[in-house]
Symmetry: C2
Subunit: 123 residues, 2 copies
């Protein structure tokens, strides 16, 4: 049993949109992601996702019958994106995010594409 | 879908050792707890718990065949306590903790007692 310092872990990699696993509990993974720009629109059929902002600002865009929406978050804030909801992260400056989601959740969900990381590394 | 600001949520209550639920995802709850002093030793038979320090310092003590151990964390750091491990949070100054654990996890685990909160409130 040891403590984890997310800021130190973020210092270990530079790739963007490439989640790194830092912990596992109850079948869930805790992942770190560096974000910059707009990620592809996607959803997850069976997984809810939590995005906790370690370094903001950071935007979560989502769309539903009412159109497109943007939620802007600062450091320390978080949002839960329920399964089935079309969403995309958007960061105008590099943002650092801690993710909580079921182990095996694919970062690009149903969309696939070049950003897909099938097997994130542990750091 | 809306963002959650843990610091603002911590401003809504003063009780210590009384977890408040702020989000639910994948059968897990995100809870906020204010800690001061030593919580009773306990374990959880079936639940892993994650303690993320929103305002530190904060200590997690645990004991195993090797004796008693203390892990001291500062703001932003976290620890995962696996199911079955005897542990107790200890805070020498009031510390603010964000917990991730399965919905229904009892704060006092197997120990019970006066600190038990059977049904935490949402805030």
């Amino acid at each position: 049993m040891h403590k984890i310092n997310p800021i130190e872990k973020f210092g270990l990699f530079t790739e963007r949109w490439s989640p790194k696993i830092v912990a596992e509990l109850n079948g869930q993974h805790v992942k770190l992601v560096k974000s910059l720009g707009s990620f592809p629109w996607h959803h997850h059929d069976h997984e809810d996702e939590m995005f906790l902002v370690v370094k903001g600002p950071f935007n979560m865009e989502y769309r539903d019958a009412g159109g497109e929406h943007r939620v802007t978050m600062n450091t320390g804030e978080f949002i839960v994106v329920p399964r089935g909801v079309e969403h995309r992260p958007v960061a105008e400056q590099e943002a650092w995010i801690m993710l909580f989601e079921p182990a095996g959740t694919l970062n690009t969900g149903n969309a696939g594409g070049e950003h897909t990381v099938a097997k994130p590394d542990w750091i």
